[in-house]
Each structure stands twice: as C-alpha cells, then as structure tokens.
C-alpha cells in the first residue's frame, strides 16, 4: 500500500461501464516522512475522502478488484481504502561498526 494526499477530483462522463457512480480522486503520492514523492495516481474512492485528506491506497489489481467488487473483468488498480492519522517512523539504524 501507499500513502498519498488527495489534491483533486477527476470527472469523466465517457468511461468504462463499471466505473459509473465511482468517484475518481487525483492523489499525490507521499514519502513516509510526508514529503512529496513526485508521482501521482488517479484512484477510486472507498473511504469518502476529499481534498487535502491523507489516505492509504492500494495500487495493485487484485486487491482493487476485490475492494470494488468488480469481478475478474474489473479494469482497476488504485483505490483509496483508509485515512492516515499519523505515521511513526523508527529512527534510522546506526551504521555497522567495521
């Protein structure tokens, strides 16, 4: 899974039939420390996320198909599945003494 920040919504009228009724979010991917990773993804929404929310998202086909319950013909990859409240990072390991 990945961490990202919702920065917008993508509106499309003409799309694959099983995309109807799904909200498509523009999500900027974040590093674990909260900085921008420089990449983004258009993801479906399963947690009612909105602009500015930091979300947990899956970017993998099988998990996305199960989450969206599309069946095996689902053309989906990225789905927002949760909100991130906080991230605790362990301190960087000390270099091994030579």
């Amino acid at each position: 899974m990945k961490i990202g920040r919702v920065i917008g919504t993508v509106v499309a009228t003409l799309k694959l039939p099983h995309y109807r009724g799904e909200k498509q979010l523009l999500v900027k991917l974040l590093e674990p420390d909260g900085s921008d990773s420089g990449d983004y993804v258009v993801a479906f929404d399963r947690c009612q996320a909105g602009d500015g929310d930091v979300v947990l998202l899956i970017d993998e086909g099988n998990g996305a198909r199960q989450t969206l319950q599309t069946g095996p013909k689902g053309v989906v990859r990225a789905v927002c599945v949760g909100f991130v409240d906080s991230v605790d990072l362990a301190p960087a390991p000390k270099p091994f003494a030579s």
Partner: protein, 88 residues
C-alpha cells in the same frame, strides 16, 4: 490510472491477430498539474477518444482486460475521457 492527452493515432497494417479491430492512440502522459510529463506511449482505445482529448489510462495487466480478445499483450489502455479535473 494516470492522466494523459491523446496526441495521435497509430495504424498498423500487420499486427497480432488479438489486436484485430482495436484502435491504437499515442498518449502523452501528464503530471498532476496537467503538464506533459515523460515519453509518449501507445495505448489501446476503449472509449472512441481522439487527438486533443484528455483521458485516463491504465497500465500493466489491467490494460489487457477491456480488449475484445482476452489473451493479448497490451500494456496501456484508455479507460475514460476526462471532462474536468477539479483541484482542491
């Protein structure tokens, strides 16, 4: 999925049987600010989109699913035509 802009069409006189009847488009990937980002790619069309339109496209194995022949080697497919990107 990613955002892209259709910048051309590809016509292949000879192609794999599994691509018969499928349309190929050249898609310029866009970044989150809708600026061109990276090298153009060839994607299969599923939405009757044309040059100039902004689209969403999907890469990887999922790109093979919307095509008529299920066993095909496509690695990018257009999934929707974007009307608007509303930024927060």
């Amino acid at each position: 999925m990613k955002l892209g802009r259709v910048i051309g069409t590809v016509v292949a006189a000879k192609q794999l049987d599994c691509f018969q009847g499928e349309k190929f488009l050249i898609v310029q990937p866009l970044d989150e600010n809708l600026k061109p980002d990276g090298e153009p790619l060839v994607a299969n069309d599923t939405q009757q989109s044309g040059p100039g339109q902004m689209v969403t496209y999907i890469g990887g194995r999922e790109a093979t699913i919307p095509l008529g022949e299920p066993f095909n080697p496509s690695d990018a497919a257009i999934t929707g035509i974007v009307d608007e990107v509303a930024r927060g």
